[in-house]
């Protein structure tokens, strides 16, 4: 089943319902379908193999996403936050390609061999003849997404039509949304969650409200103004939204469902969220680019249990819940499948798991994808994802999880934010080093923080050093850049 069919079906059934809304204008499902077809028809005869997108969230984004599918070419959103040379390198990897770009970004990718740049502003005027329909349906890849490359050169994950539509059809009800429902999308177009939000919203007939770029003020304002019922945020965004809500006291009565994911959520943040937004149902979603986003969810019922103070509910807040239908998850240590509460590497298999990168296979012969994440199941089947395997600190043969130490440090009254990494150590192989952002800029008592950890975990997990910083390095989708902290220590 192809991605473009999702829009075909909804546009036929509910052509007049609003599909895309926001400060940038609104489009009905019928209009969106017409623009996607118009864009697809305009690619007829083009030698482009891929369709790129360089721009912020706008009505042009879904038109190009679905239009590329209709035109039988992979859709590849590019990260406009990259420096020019990194961006141009990724653009060149798409050649020959048409890249649709916002006017204020087009110059950044001008003059690359095999790249034709078109303006997003031209899309509104495109239309296909009524009897136009796709000439071919041969291309398996629907979306080509560059991974964020926090640990090296970005890889191009190839998400097939089957990967994406199997997830959508199995987890969302066709036309299941009410007319007043709206999803607020604030992650940028090159994030897997933005792509999936468009696909699932269209299939369910739900209006999408787009934010050009995330700011806490803009998010809270749009959520109130457009009566948003659903939204997804990455952890750093949620923390800032909560600050904003506390500051201005905005109530969001329409907001029924708030999902978070895309990184480890500090427990302190989710506790604040549960208290500040008592009528909102929360969902923790775990997924990766290569798995077409969500593979495991902790849903509103478990969050409500935690909100009521139930011990089991509180314990589950640290988990990503249970795998979604159609996905198998295993935790392995080497070739052995781990038992309950035994940590190992998380492996995933299922129709939504992309089999390939542009460069090589992504899965083994049996279809399993190694996430490089460390995790474990509890006896009830709830999955904890502890962080990247590469980030585990090996001190004197003991595997130490940075996340566990960070969680403990975050409970210290002077710690606003914190990152823990392993530093090379002659005696122990690695030692535990913390980077802390203090609430009071004058606070610099490293030994007190080490004692805090020693008293709550054990001495081997207490940081040997604590460095104080004004802020920590995150990328724009909220991923902590531990590599930069390691580099800093090495200098």
């Amino acid at each position: 089943m192809r991605v473009s069919l999702l829009l075909d079906l909804v546009a036929e059934t509910l052509p007049d319902r609003i599909a895309i809304d926001g400060p940038g204008g609104s489009l009905s499902f019928g209009d969106l379908h017409a623009r996607a077809r118009g864009f697809a028809a305009s690619l007829e005869g083009s030698t482009a193999r891929n369709v790129g997108f360089l721009g912020v969230n706008s009505p042009a984004l879904p038109a190009v996403l679905f239009g590329a599918a209709l035109a039988d070419r992979p859709f590849a959103p590019l990260n406009y936050r990259l420096p020019d040379d990194g961006l141009r390198k990724l653009a060149a990897r798409l050649a020959p390609a048409v890249i649709v770009a916002d006017d204020d970004m087009a110059a950044r990718i001008a003059g690359i061999d095999g790249i034709e740049v078109r303006s997003t502003a031209t899309l509104a005027g495109l239309a296909a003849p009524e009897d136009w329909y796709p000439a071919s349906e041969d291309e398996d890849t629907a979306v080509l997404l560059f991974t964020s490359g926090t640990s090296g050169e970005p890889k191009a994950a190839l998400l097939r039509h089957e990967n994406l539509t199997s997830y959508v059809v199995q987890t969302v009800e066709f036309l299941g949304a009410d007319e007043e429902d709206a999803t607020l999308v604030s992650v940028p177009p090159y994030h897997i969650a933005a792509v999936l939000a468009l696909l699932t919203s269209v299939y369910s007939g739900r209006r999408v409200v787009q934010l050009e770029a995330f700011t806490p003020e803009g998010w809270v304002d749009a959520a109130a103004r457009f009566a948003v019922s659903h939204a997804m945020l990455v952890p750093t965004m949620l923390a800032r939204v909560l600050d904003r809500i506390e500051e201005v006291g905005t109530a969001l009565p329409a907001l029924r469902a708030l999902a978070y994911g895309g990184g480890r959520m500090p427990l302190s943040v989710i506790h604040r969220a549960l208290a500040l937004m008592p009528d909102t149902g929360f969902t923790n979603a775990y997924g990766l680019t290569e798995t077409s986003s969500t593979i495991s969810v902790l849903g509103p019922d478990d969050h409500a249990l935690a909100r009521s103070g139930d011990a089991a509910g509180l314990a589950r807040l640290a988990t990503v819940g249970k795998p979604v239908p159609g996905v198998e998850v295993e935790v392995r240590d080497g070739n052995r499948v781990c038992g309950p509460n035994e940590p190992g590497e998380v492996f995933v298999r299922g129709e939504q798991v992309a089999g390939r990168y542009a460069e090589r296979a992504a899965t083994d012969d049996d279809g399993w994808f190694a996430t490089k994440d460390r995790g474990w199941f509890d006896a009830d089947g709830y999955l904890t994802v502890d962080g990247r395997l590469d980030d585990v600190i090996v001190r004197g043969g003991e595997n130490i999880s940075p996340g566990e130490i960070e969680d403990v440090l975050r409970t210290h009254p002077q710690v606003a934010d914190v990152a823990v990494i392993g530093a090379p150590d002659e005696q122990w192989g690695e030692r535990v080093v913390a980077f802390a952002v203090p609430r009071d800029p004058a606070f610099s008592d490293g030994p007190a923080l080490s004692d805090w950890v020693r008293a709550r975990l054990r001495s081997t997990k207490a940081p040997a050093q604590v460095h104080f910083r004004e802020s920590l390095p995150y990328n724009d989708t909220g991923k902590l850049l531990r590599r930069l902290l390691r580099d800093e220590l090495a200098d």
């Binding site: 079906l9 986003s293 239908p325």
Partner: protein, 100 residues
């Protein structure tokens, strides 16, 4: 083999459906016990067979585990979606929280 994502219409009622997962064996999807036709095909009016007139609902999926076949009803009708004289079963989808 039939294409996943191919679209079919009923000859016995107003139903339309997408073949999400094609059956493992030869044959075409049925509605009301009568072969469906491709969306651009000619419909010859027919009557649903007794017992296969239980209808299909828009937005619902219908499946046969035995055939590994699944259809999505995109327009409701009075005939039951099926294959080789047997009705497919309604998929009771567990409602998942929205995560995107």
């Amino acid at each position: 083999m039939l294409k996943p994502g191919s679209r079919w219409k009923s000859q016995v009622c107003s139903a339309e459906a997408v073949l999400v997962r094609p059956p493992k064996i030869d044959g075409v999807p049925q509605c009301g016990g009568v072969d469906m036709v491709p969306m651009d095909g000619e419909v010859a009016a027919a009557t649903a067979l007794a017992g296969l007139d239980t209808g299909c609902l828009v937005g619902k999926r219908y499946r046969s585990d035995e055939l590994a076949m699944e259809m999505l009803c995109t327009k409701a009708g009075t005939g039951a979606l099926g294959f080789a004289g047997t009705a497919l079963e309604l998929v009771e989808a567990k409602k998942l929280p929205s995560s995107d």
